[in-house]
Symmetry: C2
Amino acid sequence: MKTLHVNVDGRGYPIFVGEGLLGRAGTVLSEVGFASAPVVVSNPTVLRLHGRNLIESLESCFGRVNKIVVGDGERFKTRATLSSIHDRLFQARADRHSWIVAFGGGMVGDTAGFAAATFMRGIPIVHVPTTLLAQVDSAIGGKVGINVPQGKNLIGAFHQPHAVLTDPAVLGTLPDRELAAGLYEVIKCAAIRSVSLLQYIERHIPEILARRALALEHIIVAAARIKARIVAADEKEKNLRMVLNFGHTMGHAFEAATAYRRFKHGEAVAWGMIGALLLGMELGFPNRQEYARLIRLIRRVRPLPSLKNIAFGRVWDALERDKKFRAGKFRMVLLPRLGEAEVRADIDPLRFRRFLKWFLLQGGNAETLLDAEGQRGIRTAFPSSTRNSPHAGR
Amino acid sequence: MKTLHVNVDGRGYPIFVGEGLLGRAGTVLSEVGFASAPVVVSNPTVLRLHGRNLIESLESCFGRVNKIVVGDGERFKTRATLSSIHDRLFQARADRHSWIVAFGGGMVGDTAGFAAATFMRGIPIVHVPTTLLAQVDSAIGGKVGINVPQGKNLIGAFHQPHAVLTDPAVLGTLPDRELAAGLYEVIKCAAIRSVSLLQYIERHIPEILARRALALEHIIVAAARIKARIVAADEKEKNLRMVLNFGHTMGHAFEAATAYRRFKHGEAVAWGMIGALLLGMELGFPNRQEYARLIRLIRRVRPLPSLKNIAFGRVWDALERDKKFRAGKFRMVLLPRLGEAEVRADIDPLRFRRFLKWFLLQGGNAETLLDAEGQRGIRTAFPSSTRNSPHAGR
């Protein structure tokens, strides 16, 4: 078992990562300091596949555990689910000394976390994430919340967990596409902060996709460490934390423009990263070989759903709603070099608009675009804008 | 204008108190650092009486102000109101750079504060409290939340304001009963921490009830300072902050047992303080003259709604639901001497039960009980239990 410590908000919490941790959850959480039985919030799928393992371990240490079952899927991340968790907590006679274990993917973690943040003004939450995405991303950092008709995650809070328990073994039952979606976020962490993690993924991608325990544990620990460090330095997303949004600016817009139906979040982020890399080339960042390398890695994970037939106007509207334009400039995270993401607030909206139109058009023909693995390819795929770029002569 | 500084959670915020502040809100809040127009959350009554004054001042500094109007009264402190504030914020195109001014009593402050705490994971809130109770209590300390069918304030958060602007002039339109209800909370602050504030109130109660600016400003500043100091030392109610609950243990139970219809919150707290003082005598605290003095002051404010015909069982149930019993003992704040409240966790439930039964019975005949201004009176009013008390011989 590996243990990371996250320091936020004047107190720290541990992230435990280890094969078989589910069956030792009771002991591990006793050592964290919990003494009474938690309320477990989960969904039917996770409970069916892995519930017994976790619940038995918790009950052997803490006695009878109450379970609150919520719907499986993002469409249940609503005010109604939040209210129902609160109501079930009252039914279970929970009080301000109670604590919650969120056992599931991002939806369970975000919703149960927000319920914990607001139940009697805040009770402790422990995350036991069961998707790769939740293990490396949503369970770390304290962002909790729900979706509303106006948009995703727009109502929520910061509520740091008391502990995160990550068992790579649960990924054995994760659908391939979900695993890939999580892996794109791991690649994002590598891209913004760690060339060595990038190399590791490049070398071990077959083991990762085959869910070999050692490989999974390695990338989870590495990605969680990157996220934890950034979050510790900037809990409430003033600035530094924004680099975690690499690939998310366009990614969110692609998700919104397709009504959250075509892409998994990680897949949209993968497209967003590719877009940000190509935009970087367009803006004249010199490291085209590095970008091509990263795009190649993203492509090796799994075929991405196509960008075909996404209306430019809907993407642009989503970016405007997302308040990415400030003071006449467009803001997003770019990657001047691998491992060193930067927030750029000075992007010319007209130039970005032209780029995005081109990208969506090419995206319809993803293979052509993505075969562009060096200068020549990109130039071919991207003729009009390189002509207009100050770096067109290179 | 007087300025207090509250230090919580690694950052501080100012409380401004001064006659006529409403009309200078724009200037004062510019100096705090706000630059864009806020969204004002208020109710129709407050907007009608004082809205123009505040809004004009804000608009002259920040430009056009959006208003969100919520229902007037505790019965609107609901999930539905919370959702409607969020929806109206989206309609007003608010984002994470927006800020809210909560302009009203405790209901507006708590609900708008909770909306601010959870809108896009938290935006700043400034309180402009318009009742004495809100000015000395609910606007300070960061407790925000809503009521649910299971109980009051059970869903909520801690969300410290960026500033509190208190204008005693707004109390000119406050109904007498509301003013009295707030004054009981001021007396509570004095009772737990400040004999000199108690003396001031004793000497100036006619000016206070006549809403003389100087007297109001004096007690608001003094009570706000007491609350701010306690909150700064213990933001999230671990221990010290509990002394603010003096009078609230029984008070809450009286409110709940009468379905929140008979008493204003402050009135129930007034009865709760009287109960806590008499219980202190029963437990043998020696300063009966001091207690009689405090009870006398509470009585001078205004006649309290009677304790008649409150079923003991309903009060007891409310205390149990409120988790006041732990490890076989009853816990509440007592006042061994004026100005020095203490949390006592060792009260024998049987003894407390007997006392409470007697108190409710006597409460039906409030004059008899409250004429007990010294040893003799109390003894007469409280014969059975003084016989059983170790201090019965005094």
